[in-house]
């Protein structure tokens, strides 16, 4: 069997004796016999490292690795520079716990502080936390930040990612938060209905809109911010951090809270996780921000030092009065995003964003020529929706047989396509050649 127990059976026996126990049964006699399993677990015997390694490789081999991916919808295939993996696999980072002991955790604390700085720079917001689980949970936690005694309802745009909306709705079920959906019109959040919903109801605490939205389109976020604020509600903007290399920031648009997934910043697709939810807000909302926050201070000799701070917000101090239950977050993913952003720099990030956008537009034109007409008119970033001249399922199967993961089939025999900097012109051409009628 495989084991990670260093002490030999002989040593174990000696330790038992030294501690005053005859054997393991004696040690475990505090557990009543009636509660014990009294049989072996119905699992196989332990295996050698060689066997386990073989099994895991076999399982990985049963998945199809596509050589080109044109699917996004919240999980994006970007190039990850080699330095990212090199840094993030350092075992001091991988195997550490939450940095409770600041004196031996300065490296991790500083990496989080640098991440918080980067998120503030990207979003334009004043304050960032150390991360939450993913885009969905970030958006869901943001709802609680908006609520007060008078305002408890949230409006969620139908044009936002359904995988994010679904998490928001689950959290609303938990906190008994009423929510209404702002319908989508021509692929964007319907502003007239938004106005009507806000006019109808004085209890609206927050409005959630995604930029660019699920269909890839740019929303008129500044107008939406004004409309929400006039009605006394806050604006939560979901945002793709990659787009922020070149796109107007949530802060510039007037958002109170910016949330999203930093997965595009150096994290693998990994069948959907671990990803990392980022949350940033105005300084006015700082004390409503959930999760860990790292702050700069000095040590007893006046050296720069970093600590977990503003902990009076958190569950381990406030228990049932805490705004959130979050404890473990995605610190190692924050490190990853931090290294990615350091590697790219502002110019590099802008270049990746620009290439994503350019390739998506090239793909749209080529697909259109192949008979896949765009459904919506508006300006878009790196995703867009087309009609499908034949059954979407069979089109996507054909692509799959050629090692290409096509766009995501969505309602009405439509396809949501995505392009990133990884999609070379020749791959886009090959894709479209397969689809030409």
């Amino acid at each position: 069997m495989g084991t990670y127990i260093p002490n030999t059976e002989k040593e174990q026996t000696e330790m038992l004796k030294k501690s005053g126990y005859k054997d393991f049964d004696d040690l475990f006699k505090v557990i009543p016999d009636g509660l014990k399993l009294n049989r072996e677990l119905n699992l196989p015997l332990g295996k050698s490292e060689f066997e386990v390694s073989y099994i895991m490789e076999d399982l990985a081999g049963q998945n199809k690795v596509f050589h080109s991916i044109f699917r996004g919808a919240g999980a994006y295939d970007h190039y990850i520079p080699a330095i990212v993996k090199s840094v993030t696999s350092k075992e001091e980072f991988v195997t550490a716990y939450t940095p409770y002991q600041a004196e031996i955790s300065q490296g991790i604390l500083q990496s989080i502080f640098e991440y918080q700085t980067a998120i503030c720079e990207l979003t334009g917001m004043d304050v960032s936390n150390a991360s939450v689980y993913d885009a969905g949970t970030a958006a869901a936690e943001a709802i609680t930040m908006c609520k007060d005694r008078k305002r408890s309802t949230v409006l969620i745009s139908e044009a936002a990612n359904p995988y994010v909306r679904s998490v928001m709705e689950t959290y609303c079920f938990g906190t008994d938060t009423p929510f209404k959906i702002i319908p989508e019109k021509d692929g964007k959040t319907d502003i007239n209905t938004l106005k009507a919903l806000l006019a109808d109801d004085e209890t609206i605490a927050g409005v959630y809109v995604q930029q660019p939205n699920f269909f890839g389109l740019f929303e008129n976020l500044e107008d939406i911010a004004d409309i929400a604020h006039e009605a006394g509600a806050k604006l939560i903007s979901g945002v793709n951090p990659m787009a922020l290399g070149i796109m107007k920031t949530p802060a510039e648009c007037g958002a109170d809270i910016a949330v999203g997934d930093a997965q595009p910043l150096g994290l693998a697709l990994g069948f959907g996780g671990p990803f990392i939810g980022f949350m940033a807000c105005t300084s006015k909302l700082m004390r409503n921000l959930p999760g860990r926050i790292v702050g700069q201070t000095t040590d007893d000799k006046g050296n720069r030092a970093f600590v977990l701070t503003l902990q009076a917000r958190e569950q381990h101090i406030r228990r049932e009065k805490a705004g959130s239950n979050i404890c473990s977050n995605e610190a190692h993913c924050a490190l990853t995003a931090g290294v990615y952003l350091a590697a790219l720099g502002a110019d590099g990030l802008a270049e990746v964003a620009k290439q994503c956008m350019s390739k998506a537009h090239y793909l749209k034109n080529k697909l259109s020529e192949a008979g896949f007409k765009p459904v919506y008119e508006g300006e878009f970033f790196h995703e867009f929706v087309t009609d499908c001249p034949e059954d979407a399922g069979s089109v996507l199967k054909k692509l799959k047989d050629h090692g290409i993961l096509g766009g995501l089939p969505i309602e009405g025999n439509r396809i949501l396509w995505c392009a990133t900097e990884k999609n070379r012109k020749e791959d886009i051409d090959a894709l479209c050649d397969l689809l030409v009628h």
């Binding site: 014990k36 998945n63 550490a96 689950t170 671990p274 007893d300 502002a346 290439q355």
Partner: protein
């Protein structure tokens, strides 16, 4: 030390991408950002050295002893890391379809089945991303179930006063109110207090067993019976599962829903504060409410993702922290039914070995056989020497060891809670005991030195009050 933003100079960068091979599309003016983000401008050399230095200012399980109570900082096996970095897992899109992700579904299926057997549950969801997230998930299952049964008057969750802060916080996020029940003198649930607390409004109970003081609550069946008779459900917080896996099971103790921490019991690394994973298991009567997608079999060996008919919805986008699940599966395969029991036994042995060796040095909060961890009570010691639990903890840093958990559980005031785990050799336990004894001597002979410890780390004690009063939460570049 300098921040990455204080290194490099304008224009330094890495060459990552080729020149764009299609016509450039510019961001429309209306949506363009006004100025670029002030990110780092550094070379690859500088990045590599910067983070190598940061790594040197961090402390992981690989750096030394890490007896952080309640956190189960066991060794993180490398074969697990290797498995999780296989391209056949890392390059898989979460929405690429059942056929092309059959290996991922198999991983999810195998892990879920294994966890069911280990916990005595009928179904598992891998969607929750951490322990607290699992708690929230489990409580929402209870909420959905009660609502479905028309039991809307059941609004209260009972939590012992020794519980981790996430328990009451999760209860509130699930829309329940919290009823705190005091622990008995023995650190276990006070049965009479529990009987007084239950009623028609009881939705459920949240409990760990072994409990947060490291003791196995012998009355557990009576406790879960009291809750069930009152019409409530029982939630098992799996934070301390490492002590009992393969020996007894939450399902057999009367629990209806559990979460396990893959980043504790199942050896996946903590990453400096995540990603973890907090899969949730339940008895079959709750299975219809499970979140997200679980794996089902359509035909012999052919798996598919399915939604539970009355699902509470998604707790997280997609399928949970999948790559963490890969590591946990590799671990369970390695240990097998024999290794799992052996791990629990040695976790408990290592804790008792240290407890017995230390009981003449520090008062034990509960001087009896513990499970995987034990709590020292430094209350009297503080009165006698003026040195508190934090001073001993900081002193340990100078010996190159991570201290035990300080000031938890809250019911022991000067608590130091040590959990050595099964992956430590005897010599390390002996060394830790010696170091703690030396620190006691220092507290008596030279308390001043202990009050200002640590002396050998890269920084001394930080000013936390100042950090909270004048929050500096990001770097702001001074205009030149």
């Amino acid at each position: 030390m300098e921040l990455i933003y204080e290194k490099g100079s304008k224009g330094r960068h890495l060459d990552i991408l080729p020149v764009c091979d299609v016509e450039i599309t510019e961001m429309p003016e209306a949506f363009k950002r006004n100025k670029p983000p002030a990110l780092a401008e550094v070379s690859e050399t500088e990045i590599s050295r910067h983070f190598t230095k940061l790594a040197g200012r961090s402390y992981g399980v690989n750096d030394g002893f890490y007896p952080l109570g309640s956190c189960t900082m066991k060794y993180n096996p490398k074969v697990n890391e290797e498995a999780a970095s296989l391209k056949g897992f890392t390059a898989i899109h979460p929405l690429q379809g059942d056929d092309s992700s059959a290996g991922c579904l198999k991983v999810m299926d195998m892990l879920s089945r294994n966890l069911c057997e280990i916990c005595g549950m009928d179904e598992f969801s891998l969607q929750p991303a951490a322990g607290a997230h699992g708690e929230l998930t489990g409580l929402l299952l209870i909420k959905a179930y009660l609502k479905d049964k028309g039991e809307i008057g059941r609004t209260k969750i009972i939590v012992p006063d020794s519980a981790h802060g996430t328990n009451p916080a999760s209860a509130v996020m699930s829309g329940f109110t919290v009823v705190n029940v005091p622990s008995g003198e023995d650190g276990c649930v006070d049965i009479e207090a529990l009987k007084d607390a239950v009623g028609d409004d009881t939705a459920g109970l949240m409990l760990t067993n072994p409990n947060t003081v490291g003791l196995f609550d012998k009355n557990i069946k009576e406790i879960t019976d009291i809750i069930h008779e009152a019409g409530g459900l029982c939630y098992y917080d799996g934070a301390n599962l490492n002590a009992i896996m393969g020996i007894c099971r939450p399902g057999d103790m009367g629990f209806d829903v559990v979460h396990v921490n893959l980043h504790k019991t199942f050896s996946t690394p903590h990453g400096g504060g995540g990603p973890g994973a907090g899969p949730v298991g339940c008895k079959s009567f709750l299975a219809d409410y499970m979140p997200g997608s679980t794996v089902g079999e359509i035909s012999e060996g052919k798996l598919t993702l399915k939604r539970a008919p009355k699902s509470i919805g998604d707790m997280k986008s997609f399928h949970g922290n999948f790559l963490v699940a890969v590591k946990a599966l590799a671990y369970i395969l390695t240990l097998g039914r024999d290794g799992i029991v052996d791990s629990a036994r040695n976790a408990v042995l290592n804790a008792n070995y240290m407890r017995v060796a230390l009981k003449d040095t520090f008062d034990m909060a509960y001087d009896e056989t513990c499970m995987h961890e034990f709590v020292m009570d430094l209350g009297k010691f503080k009165d006698e020497t003026g040195c508190a639990a934090i001073d001993i903890a900081k002193g340990l840093l100078d010996y190159g060891m991570h201290p035990p958990t300080m000031y938890f559980p809250l019911i022991v005031h000067e608590a130091l809670m040590a959990e050595p785990t099964e992956t430590e050799p005897r010599e390390m336990l002996d060394l830790a005991v010696d170091n703690l004894k030396k620190l006691k001597t220092m507290a008596i002979e030279d308390p001043g030195r202990l009050h200002t410890a640590p002396h050998t780390t890269c920084i001394g004690r930080p000013d936390e009050v100042c950090a909270a009063r004048n929050p500096v939460l990001k770097f702001v570049r001074e205009e030149k």
